[in-house]
């Protein structure tokens, strides 16, 4: 009896779990892919944030970088920071490393009723100092608070302002709108 039961049990074969057909797997795979692509397209189309990410951050930058692969450091800085950077770089290139440069009043950089070439960041001493480092800047507004004011050995000329601070005369016909000049003539680089 036991032997018969054993023999019967040996004949019971457990079937492996049925696997979906290859076609079904492929179909599911393709449908999931289509869904994934559609999801990203919908996100980029109907959400301003993802739209901005795709158009501005990815596409525009990709196109720009491909169109201007040989842009120099100076061109990039001017492109991003405009005339403020150009002027500060001009100061850096035309003064020695130990120069203390007197900057004009804030109202000269950003006049109230006139369009300015500068952006408001130039009024920040920390920001401007970064571009002329290790040179030191002292602003007209620091006249009473900074001990460096009296030690300034260069003067930043902005919009023809600053010539009157020089101890020597600069003829009107050679004056330029933007410049940086030494307090003492012997300091001319």
């Amino acid at each position: 009896m036991k032997k018969a039961k054993k023999r019967k049990a040996q004949h019971i074969v457990t079937l492996p779990p049925s696997r979906p057909s290859y076609f079904k797997i492929l179909l599911k795979n393709v449908l999931m892919l289509a869904g994934s692509i559609l999801l990203l397209i919908l996100l980029a189309s109907y959400n301003d944030g993802y739209g901005w990410f795709y158009d501005k951050l990815l596409k525009n930058n990709f196109v720009f970088m491909n169109e201007a692969p040989n842009m120099t450091y100076h061109e990039k800085m001017y492109y991003k920071l405009g005339f403020s950077w150009k002027y500060l770089n001009f100061i850096k290139e035309n003064t020695p490393e130990d120069a203390i440069i007197l900057m004009p009043p804030d109202s000269i950089f950003l006049p109230r009723n006139k369009k300015s070439d500068f952006n408001s960041s130039i009024l920040s001493k920390e920001w401007s100092s970064y571009f002329v480092y290790p040179r030191k800047l002292v602003y007209e507004r620091e006249k009473t608070s900074s001990p460096l004011y009296k030690q300034a050995n260069y003067i930043a000329i902005v919009d023809y302002c600053g010539y009157s601070k020089l101890p020597y005369e600069v003829k009107a016909n050679i004056r330029t709108q933007y410049s940086v000049l030494p307090m003492q003539l012997k300091n001319i680089k």
């Binding site: 795979n29 999931m32 994934s36 959400n47 944030g49 951050l57 930058n61 920040s124 480092y133 001990p147």
Partner: protein
């Protein structure tokens, strides 16, 4: 020199991980190596600074780091006796999984790689032009690389040119300075490395409990979060802080749920480095501390909490001491000097917080997805306690983070906002993104969708 410098930092990070958390996966070690190496790098620079050794001695510093890495590696090899078998690695990790050809996974990974490629190119194409970095961390870095000390001329009392951003903890500025010392023209590479490590580490954490498809989808969601993506290619300390806080929290959560001591050690180190990057990361330390406290109460253990608390406090206190005693720098902190209850201010602040937090322009669908997932999982949260500790940690950390903004000395009217919420709060939210996406991917409903309906046999 550049290559030697970065390989040394990577090697140092890897050897530290091998000493403190040998049992974690090799791929996780690779993903964490740079951030841990850069954290250690900042500490070695800081020790040099305290010993009055010029930080310009870059050859000496790299030599010491290399020697330290070799010593730690020898200790690891002697202690652990690892078996290197190419066949084992190949068979285990590649061949067994090569049968899985999920087209959606390939699509998401393709998009991730393409987006990452453009981010890398953009990051290395543009010079540093961000106001906060120029008037802050990058200026400190540049001066450090030129003068060979953190206590540079920008902190000179006669002509101070530092801002409050210059007084942030030194991990980011030191590594920015390290990049300049190696000969880079921009320190942007540091932010880029942290960004890539965040993405890869996040994928690996998601993959622990879910499918590759789920990990790829949620990693892509993190990568394309508009504001986070925009910041990933510009110079700031927010991206390094995002790595340390979020991955640190995920390590502690993994330790809490899986009882793997290796993740506790890594979590403590990452959280201490977070505080060493930005002071406000201390609120995340509190969130991580909550998990350690809970585990301590359950198992009657005090030591882990003590170690964690000491590590974070040491990072915070050391920098504050340095600012006061060495730099002699001060900047009027814009915080209230006494506790007041001002419901109108709170109302105005929450209006702005609501506007920023739920803005799909800033954070895409991530926040809404998270809220939706919490609502859908209400039953699982209360009956099965699904991810409840993670949720409590996220919400308690967020409340602490919001409280910090309440104590800022502003009334949040339109005339006095000063960008606290629209700038500071918004960037700080980056640290929450990996955590909330981790929950969105790992809750019961998502798991069911990805493991049952979106899996291929």
């Amino acid at each position: 020199m550049k290559l030697i410098g970065w390989i040394t930092v990577f090697f140092l990070g890897l050897s530290i991980i091998n000493i403190i958390a040998y049992r974690i996966k090799a791929i996780e070690k690779i993903s964490f190596a740079f951030p841990i190496g850069m954290g250690a790098n900042s500490i070695i620079f800081f020790i040099f600074e305290l010993l009055h050794i010029s930080l310009k001695s870059i050859d000496l510093i790299i030599g010491i780091e290399l020697a330290l890495g070799i010593v730690l590696s020898i200790i690891t090899i002697r202690k652990m006796r690892p078996v290197f078998s190419f066949e084992l690695i190949f068979k285990k990790n590649v061949l067994k999984k090569s049968g899985m050809l999920n087209l959606s996974w390939f699509f998401f990974m393709g998009v991730i790689l393409f987006v990452a490629y453009i981010m890398i190119r953009k990051s290395l194409f543009w010079p540093i032009v961000q106001f906060d970095s120029i008037a802050g961390y990058d200026f400190v870095a540049k001066a450090m690389a030129t003068e060979g000390t953190l206590n540079s001329s920008i902190f000179n009392s006669e002509n101070p040119v530092y801002s409050i951003r210059s007084l942030y903890p030194p991990l980011a500025p030191i590594n920015f300075g390290f990049a300049y010392l190696l000969g880079h023209t921009s320190s942007q590479i540091v932010v880029l490395i942290f960004f890539l490590c965040t993405i890869s580490s996040f994928y690996l954490f998601l993959k622990r409990n879910s499918t590759h498809l789920c990990a790829a989808f949620f990693t892509l969601l993190l990568l394309i979060t508009p504001e986070y993506a925009a910041f990933s290619t510009i110079s700031s300390s927010n991206i390094p802080c995002t790595f340390y806080t979020s991955i640190g929290m995920l390590c502690l959560y993994t330790w809490f749920t899986e009882k793997d001591q290796n993740y506790f050690t890594i979590g403590v180190v990452l959280m201490a480095f977070a505080v060493w990057t930005r002071t406000e990361a201390i609120v995340f330390a509190a969130g991580g501390g909550f998990m350690i406290l809970l585990d301590g109460i359950r198992n009657k253990k005090k030591i882990p909490l003590l170690i964690f608390g000491l590590a974070c406090f040491a990072a915070l206190a050391l920098w504050q001491w340095y600012i006061k005693q060495i730099l002699h720098a001060s900047f009027a902190q814009p915080v209230l000097d006494h506790i007041t209850w001002d419901p109108e201010k709170l109302g105005r602040m929450f209006d702005q917080i609501k506007h920023v937090t739920f803005s799909t322009v800033y954070f895409g669908v991530t926040i809404l997805l998270f809220i939706g997932m919490v609502v859908l999982n209400i039953k699982n949260i209360f009956s099965n306690r699904d991810q409840v500790i993670l949720l409590i940690s996220i919400f308690s950390t967020w409340l602490l983070y919001v409280a910090v903004f309440y104590f800022i000395n502003t009334d949040y009217t339109s005339s006095s906002m000063e960008g606290w919420i629209f700038s500071g709060y918004k960037r700080g939210m980056f640290c929450f993104l990996p955590l909330i996406l981790f929950y969105s991917a790992n809750n019961k409903i998502s798991q069911q969708v990805f493991n049952k309906y979106l899996s291929l046999p």
